[in-house]
Symmetry: C2
Subunit: 256 residues, 2 copies
């Protein structure tokens, strides 16, 4: 078996739980990790609550190669992620001089609509646990940090994406995950038996069946996902034949 790194995401966000904000970070991170061959196996969404953050971080970090958190690293009272991570690891929260220098260099003496960009509260964003590695922020400059296998990312999608892209080259990779999709107007009930046979013939692949039902647009998308390109192609071809065999026209989207 080749080396298989794994990952989990902890989404720290009252605004996601309340439904006010539609999360898009999970899908983005899931896709990018798949490309890097890192298997995302769990996501937890929790409130901005100290005890919950500490407990969740400590429960999850021994279980996966990498843990990513999103949210709670801004300049206001509700940004408690850094503080909670320090407590989870039993480390002091200190002013990270390297982070402070980056923030000052970027913001000091600059103004945005009469607001000085650097002030006391912006330096709050330099407060981090002791002995961390900084994560660069190519978007809005204020860096975040990595502590052991935990990577603390922003919640704002553009900033989170910029941070993730700076991290990815440094992570241990597995075989990339690929998927092909075969869509048709066949119903799940029609294909289920034959599809089970195909899944059983390819136990290393995950074949997912996703019906859609927006009358008059009814049918099923079949997703063939895995790490072995040749096997994915073979299974995809069998599924295409199956769809044709039931008299339907497959629409095929291939990643490979």
């Amino acid at each position: 078996m080749p080396y298989q790194p794994t990952a989990a995401i902890i989404v720290i966000g009252n605004e996601i739980l309340s439904g006010r904000t539609q999360d898009t970070n999970i899908a983005y991170i899931g896709k990018r990790l798949g490309t890097a061959g890192i298997d995302l196996l769990e996501v937890r969404v929790i409130p901005d609550d100290e005890q919950r953050i500490i407990k969740t971080v400590n429960e999850i970090r021994p279980l996966y190669t990498y843990v990513f958190t999103t949210g709670g690293i801004g300049a206001t009272h509700d940004d408690i992620t850094a503080e909670c991570i320090a407590k989870a690891f039993g480390r002091k929260l200190i002013e990270n001089q390297e982070a402070l220098a980056i923030i000052m260099d970027h913001y000091k003496g600059k103004f945005y609509q009469d607001q000085e960009l650097f002030n006391g509260n912006r330096s709050r964003m330099a407060m981090m646990p002791e002995d961390v590695t900084l994560i660069k922020n190519p978007v809005s400059k204020a860096p975040s940090f990595q502590i052991e296998n935990v990577y603390v990312l922003a919640g704002m999608p553009s900033v989170m994406q910029g941070m993730l892209e700076t991290i990815l080259p440094k992570l241990q990779k597995g075989e990339p995950f690929y998927y092909n999709t075969v869509t048709s107007n066949l119903l799940e009930g029609t294909i289920a038996d034959r599809l089970t046979e195909i899944q059983n013939a390819y136990p290393m692949l995950s074949i997912g069946s996703y019906p859609f039902y927006q009358v008059p647009n009814i049918g099923t998308s079949l997703v063939i996902r895995g790490q072995d390109k040749e096997m994915i192609q073979k299974a995809t071809n069998e599924i295409i034949e199956m769809v044709k065999g039931f008299g339907a026209t497959p629409q095929v989207e291939r990643q490979i």
Copy 2:
């Protein structure tokens, strides 16, 4: 303290973790529960994996008033939710006669593009743990089920929404959650100190600060959320005054 029901969601879905599908169910459920005064405190996204589903269901169900699962209740091999829930509760998986009757009544003898709507695999959707309460499906008819405090919902958004709406009137309600939003071009660093004072003055409210940074569109949205309408109005007014005090123009969206 008034009675405060709580909830968690378990999203069962390889397609969410792989990033292929953008989940929208969490935000929908979060919003609807907020309106019903039920506090959504945790979401877990896990793969279509028997052991993980059983473990997660049993870990979570003692912790919250209500648990909702989404996904994995169709007619194909990858739909293992019902079976796993039966195992989690130590109950037999049986053919639910009431569910079967609903499915047969709707589908038997009907065809869609030459496919008989009722067949052996569709009856798979009637397999449920013993002694459950059915959840009606106003969209595509095949029902799902409730077992103790666990409500098993479809993954397809339209069907999930239909099921949730049939459940909501039967749940115990709390005081509804409301939120107002005050947006301006102020930076987090500018408002942080004053905002902390306002948050400290209203410990029963949760005041969230969400910066946005899409040059030239830069600023912060402040969300004032809670269950006490009068208190929310007061805090909203203080925040509006704060924004004006910094020379900016607040844009206010009110739920109340």
